[in-house]
Symmetry: C4
Subunit: 206 residues, 4 copies
């Protein structure tokens, strides 16, 4: 079985990331007829804004990371394509639990809504980790020019990712709103400092 | 009449594939007001998840296949552009029957919903086959550098495709849910092993 | 004032075309609760399918044409960018009157719905013509390598376009359904034979 | 910490701009059942058309400007990526306040709707300005080949931008409809003449 280049996979992935991020806005809405003034209703939509910002930043950062990882991968095989398709399937799914959080946060059902959201993100993190492990173990699909120190640094940087997202799933049972806040913090602080900023000499650039 | 290159066709096709796959999520929703707890409602949405996963994987794999086929086609003529437009028209239509399956599976109307879904996919498979037959017969639009053995291998690999999708249309009358499961199995197992993985020496890479 | 290249304009235009075509499907839906069997309802959605096919093919062909025209344009100035933005604004607007046709064809209000649809397409054709006239008169923005005979052939091929679309607006008053059918025929037969297939020697390739 | 090229950022940005512009049309709709003839309802949708045109042109022009600015930026660092993500987050948010303007202009709640709209655009202008200031001060991320006069000209051209958008926020309290009209005028006249048309010799090309 032949291997193929990764340009094709990247184009499709780019499209899915950009569209998933932009579709999020369709999930925000004001219910009409209004019960209060529009201004009042807009201020009470804060769970929608929080969910939107959290998901948008998560997808934006994921996209940058995914691109970085694929710049190290020299060729794709059938397993990689399949795992990447599953990963994108979960990324494109994010608008749905985002809408649940927007609609149910601070209301009856918020635990289930945030649980669905955090499980989706944890599943995404697990698949992303799987994708990298498959591609990088024994340098299976890594391009020849990439130094092993660089590969190892990314592996170290990714290690805590899926554990953190699983931790957020557990946190939902203590406090759904704290779980959403932690997800936002992860997108804003942890992830941008991981794969993307690994020094070329192999140390993590944090 | 002059022929034109295929880069233009591919860019437009890429866009349609990525957007159609990502729009699928907009078809999933929880009806409010809730009749049960949100968690209960989310678990009972499984037909939506099944429909989403089946359509997403089908479109993702189609996209990879389509790209592969166009890498062998050296030029486009008017007929190819027209058939490709019809093919994309059907691809972009997939979110609609997907929503029908999501909404009606396991309820009154499931047969009609899955019938609409399987007819759409069969039509897509027929048009895809037509596109390849038109381009490949007598190497009409095949790039010169491509070995005939490679063309023949793809033709052999594609042959069962539309027949399988037509078989699924027939299966709907026996069991709608089995027809959806078969569609998912086709996306996960059959299609990835066909055109994409044909060995360059001309044997199918299964 | 400096002129700029056209690559930027083309990327944005590509995105708008592909997304506008794919969003059309979101305008089709079955009203629930159903009054008849789902199969019955799906068959009675034919105005939606007709509107979808007509708009999708119109946008697909427009996209190919637009790409061809921009391959002849060597540089963009402020006026071209502005007219092109207005043109894309109308292209991205097409899903709205398409939904009107899908919803009101064969019902009270069909004349107004098809009128809105045909006026939108006529406006688009006028802006497209304007864009070409501005770029091509005295070869204002035409790339140097393009032979004048090629420019003249496209000008001749485009001439009937906006007149035909205006004719369809008039036809709405006689028969709305005939006007939609004519729009579909234009997309399927006339447009693909115009700009795209002009022979390089300057004769129109019909 | 290593810096990275800007191609990745630009691809994602392109996608978000094109999709945000095209999604706007989903926010326009006719409420059924109709209270008047469809034609009458369509004419009374003018606030929707005004909001659509204003937002589409604003995003189209922004996109061209953003592309121009990134052609001068030679490399991206963590701060730039973060500010750009926040900027895109606001761009992708525009369809939501656009829908508010479309729905509430000329009705109870119009002040709050236009306020939400103008605050969104002002926030976007502030973030865009921040992005440019960060990249350009002391030529932090500017490519070496770009003359300082060009950088200075863009800085001068951008200076009034966010002040104008903040001015529109104030104008909402005097007249919401005038504020929308001013936003449209800004998109049609001011912005296209700023960054894009700076002469290469460093003078602003207005």
């Amino acid at each position: 079985v032949d291997d193929v280049g990764t340009a094709r996979v990247e184009t499709f992935s780019d499209g899915v990331f950009a569209i998933a991020a932009t579709l999020l806005i369709l999930e925000i809405g004001v219910a009409t007829p209004l019960h209060h003034s529009l201004g009042h209703e807009l201020l009470h939509l804060w769970p929608s804004y929080l969910a939107y910002v959290t998901s948008f930043l998560t997808i934006a950062i994921l996209w940058v990371n995914h691109h970085e990882v694929f710049s190290l991968i020299g060729r794709a095989d059938r397993t990689l394509l399949f795992v990447n398709s599953l990963f994108l399937l979960v990324v494109a799914f994010i608008p749905f639990p985002t809408r649940l959080v927007a609609e149910f946060l601070n209301k009856t059902g918020e635990r289930d809504a945030v649980l669905a959201y955090s499980i989706t993100l944890a599943l995404m993190a697990v698949l992303y980790n799987l994708l990298w492990r498959y591609a990088s173990s024994n340098r299976r699909l890594i391009a020849e020019a990439v130094p092993q120190a660089h590969v190892d640094a990314i592996t170290r940087a990714f290690r805590p990712g899926w554990i953190l997202y699983l931790g957020i799933v557990a946190l939902v049972f203590a406090s759904p709103i704290a779980a959403v806040a932690m997800t936002l913090a992860l997108a804003a602080f942890y992830v941008p400092s991981s794969a993307l900023w690994v020094r070329k000499d192999g140390s993590a650039g944090m």
